[in-house]
């Protein structure tokens, strides 16, 4: 693993060693069921509470507004279906964008089949939404607006703070949900202050294990659960708590908040963009200008070289990246995000997503530039005629 440069952090991240240690300790020692009356149950409950406080603190929200789920997909489903079910008598219209993650997009597709109306707002060629479009789309029967903070494929950032303000200023009633899976612990994120009602975060994108996520729900917001059981997590998400996962999530947040300067991500991106542009002038950047996009996502294409081929060539030299987003790499047709930004088929087929994390280093960026240049030179002789 020594020569591995992992740049697919928007797909998932390596678990940080401190996090792994905390998870291991929890599994072996504090293995009780938080609902049990005895001391072991209490110990487990305490650890869940600590993690909840840690995450709440990072988001600047109160502890009782954090609800743990099995991950981002579940939290997004819960937010959307839960709101739809709770408000179905007030209206059957929702608003979202064309570039959401499948866990949002396909949940809305399901609602459409169940008789709901959904407006999918377009984005510009940088993948950005106009806040006014959101307000204009609101109708008297709109019950939910769901907009992602950072796009997982191209890294465009939506002005969710402005959107929340605009919606509240106009006195509109729909709930506002933000999928913040890609922005949590990378960008400033203050849902309570900004007036966001529901917000999704996920553990494995920030060096916690897979299988843990959380939904922030503003106090006073009422949604329905989507499954039923022992009433854990305030009845919003029944099921025995994933205590080790929760502890890992809390520990990952603690580590980033305490030890990490988030500015480094922009620096890595800056180094990489400058170096690649200089060495490979043919390179095309997909989505927003690098300084406008998320600090940890860069999407580029190399004309004539299929993304998959570039990916495998890079892999052979120890650099791990993605084509588009990992969830859609096996799809043959051009994906909805690239369609929405009006990308050419050529750019979409060649798209490579490079995504950093707090565990990368500047040195890795310089080595990555060299490796990209070598791969590009090797492959460019065999571009399709």
């Amino acid at each position: 693993m020594k020569n591995t440069i992992y740049l697919d952090n928007a797909a998932t991240t390596p678990v940080h060693p401190d996090v792994a240690k905390a998870v291991m300790d929890c599994m072996v020692n504090d293995f009780g069921n938080p609902s049990s009356l005895h001391r072991l149950g209490l110990n487990a409950e305490k650890r869940v509470k600590e993690a909840r406080e840690q995450i709440a603190w990072a988001l600047g929200v109160s502890t009782d507004s954090i609800f743990f789920t099995s991950g981002g997909t579940e939290a997004n489903n819960l937010a959307i279906i839960g709101t739809a079910m709770a408000r179905r008598r007030e209206g059957k219209h929702c608003i979202t964008t064309q570039i959401e993650h499948p866990s949002v997009l396909n949940t809305f597709k399901y609602l459409e089949k169940e008789g709901w109306e959904v407006t999918y707002l377009p984005v510009d060629k940088r993948g950005m939404l106009d806040p006014d479009d959101v307000v204009k789309a609101v109708r008297s029967d709109t019950v939910l607006i769901s907009i992602m903070h950072v796009n997982n494929e191209i890294g465009s950032i939506q002005p969710v703070e402005d959107i929340a303000k605009l919606v509240k200023e106009k006195g509109l009633s729909p709930l506002f949900h933000v999928d913040a899976i890609q922005s949590f612990e990378k960008l400033d994120l203050k849902p309570r202050r900004w007036g966001i009602d529901l917000l999704t975060v996920s553990g494995h994108k920030i060096h916690a294990p897979k299988g843990i996520g959380a939904l922030y729900m503003r106090k006073g917001v009422k949604i329905h659960p989507v499954h039923w059981g022992g009433g854990q997590e305030g009845g919003i998400r029944s099921g025995t708590e994933n205590v080790p996962g929760i502890v890992g999530f809390g520990e990952a947040v603690r580590w980033i908040e305490q030890d990490i300067d988030k500015k480094y991500l922009y620096m890595y991106k800056g180094i990489l963009v400058a170096g690649l542009k200089e060495r490979i002038p043919e390179m095309v950047i997909n989505g927003p200008e690098p300084e406008l996009g998320a600090p940890h996502i860069l999407n580029v294409s190399f004309p004539g070289i299929r993304g998959e081929v570039m990916l495998h060539a890079l892999e052979d030299k120890g650099v791990y990246v993605s084509t588009g987003s990992a969830c859609s790499s096996r799809r043959k047709s051009i994906g909805p995000v690239f369609q929405a930004i009006g990308a050419k088929k050529e750019a979409a087929r060649g798209a490579i997503r490079i995504s950093f994390s707090h565990m990368n280093t500047s040195d890795e960026m310089y080595r990555t530039i060299d490796i990209f240049e070598r791969c590009f030179k090797e492959l460019k002789g065999y571009i399709r005629r």
Binding site: E308, V309, M310, L311, H312, A313, E315, D316, R330, K332, L379, G381, Y382, R385
Partner: protein, 391 residues
């Protein structure tokens, strides 16, 4: 009462003086297929094998149903040769047959007996009659139908009595290893695994050759081919898979030769490398999954050009089959779901837009001479990766 499986083998009967050789090969194949079941005992008896000391387990039957050379088999019970034991076993078999059918209503049945132990006190007619009468008394409502019964209870009286009602078709063919060895060019698509299966079914041992074009194809496409070999090896025993690095050859051809001949040239190189590996493995022929006219490289003219690359005979068992027929077979043998996994294989990259469909051998040879074929092949063969795969 003991569970046994009765295996019937077919064509081996025809083999005159070679018969012991074929029977031994079949026995080896059965042992190999069932090697994880250590306690079983295999007994030979007049045109069949009995597997004794075996559990009544569908996983075992799945394995047996993939052994080439077995035309049918029956899970049976073995009991002492007395009427009480036979009656009891026949009852249980009928109950099981009823349960399989899900209904007891209007059930028709017959009993069919064979008596190879002529010292048994009843002849087969009489045995069938008595057991039939017993079952009629035991299960009111069922009827005898000797012409088209829903269920047949079979009784065989040998050293022991064997009772069964299931007759499961086997895969047929000839025991693997009785017909030499061949090298299969395995792409990962739908056709080539079927081609290998068909030849192996006739008793041929397989070795597989796969061409890998990293970074144009990925580790996943290699895993897919390994999985296909694993499925095939369930039928034909361990397969040695050779993975040949093919990228450089494709790149050289792409740079130096005309587009419209690329696929043909590529196929010629594959044949040449396949032949070298076949010789190394002691295989006398090549197998490909080509089907006449399916794509440009599979027209009659193209096949002649491909054949011209090697001196070894090339078997093309799918040559006269339609795609739908091949797909049906792939589904039947269990390779289809793996074959359709959407990973690139080396044949789909660098595909010419307008490939020649009526190539001339001389022109193709001329084009081929533009690259240093000998050096390229030597390099590829020197870097092959050999993987032993067992089902």
């Amino acid at each position: 009462m003991e569970n046994v499986v009765l295996l019937r083998y077919g064509e081996i009967h025809l083999k005159g003086q070679n018969r012991p050789y074929f029977e031994r090969a079949l026995l080896d194949n059965i042992k190999r297929a069932l090697e994880e079941y250590e306690d079983i005992k295999i007994v030979k008896a007049q045109g069949r094998y009995f597997i004794e000391n075996i559990e009544d387990d569908h996983r075992i039957y799945d394995k047996i149903s993939r052994i080439f050379g077995i035309i049918s088999f029956s899970p049976a019970v073995k009991v002492e040769k007395n009427m009480e034991a036979i009656k009891e076993a026949a009852e249980l078999q009928l109950k099981e047959a009823m349960a399989d059918r899900g209904s007891f209503d209007e059930l028709t049945f017959k009993v069919e007996s064979r008596r190879s132990d002529k010292s048994f006190f009843l002849n087969s007619m009489e045995l069938s009659r008595r057991i039939g009468a017993h079952l009629l008394k035991k299960f009111p409502g069922i009827k005898v139908d000797v012409h088209e019964p829903m269920v047949t209870i079979y009784i065989e009286v040998r050293e022991w009595a064997y009772i069964y009602h299931r007759l499961v078709p086997g895969v047929g063919g000839m025991p693997v290893g009785t017909n030499g060895k061949a090298a299969l060019l395995l792409s990962g698509g739908i056709d080539s695994p079927v081609a290998g299966w068909m030849i192996s079914k006739r008793g041929v041992e397989l070795t597989a050759v796969h061409f890998h074009s990293f970074p144009y194809t990925s580790d996943r496409s290699k895993e897919k081919v390994i999985e296909l070999c694993r499925i095939l090896s369930g039928y034909c025993g361990a397969i040695k898979l050779y993975v040949v690095p093919f990228t450089r050859i494709q790149q050289e051809l792409y740079q130096k030769c005309l587009d419209n001949m690329l696929t043909l040239l590529m196929r010629r190189f594959m044949m040449k490398i396949g032949e070298i590996i076949a010789i190394r493995e002691g295989a006398g022929v090549l197998i490909t999954g080509e089907s006449l006219g399916q794509v440009a490289s599979q027209t009659l003219e193209s096949l002649c050009v491909t054949d011209d690359a090697v001196s070894m005979p090339v078997l093309r068992p799918l040559i006269g089959m339609d795609k739908v027929e091949i797909i049906d077979m792939a589904k039947k043998i269990g390779t289809y779901e793996t074959s359709i996994l959407p990973y690139e294989d080396c044949c789909t990259i660098f595909v010419p837009k307008h490939p020649l469909t009526r190539p001339k051998v001389d022109r193709v040879r001329e084009a081929e001479a533009l690259v240093d074929g000998k050096e390229l092949i030597e390099e590829a063969v020197a870097n092959v990766e050999a993987i032993e795969i067992k089902g």
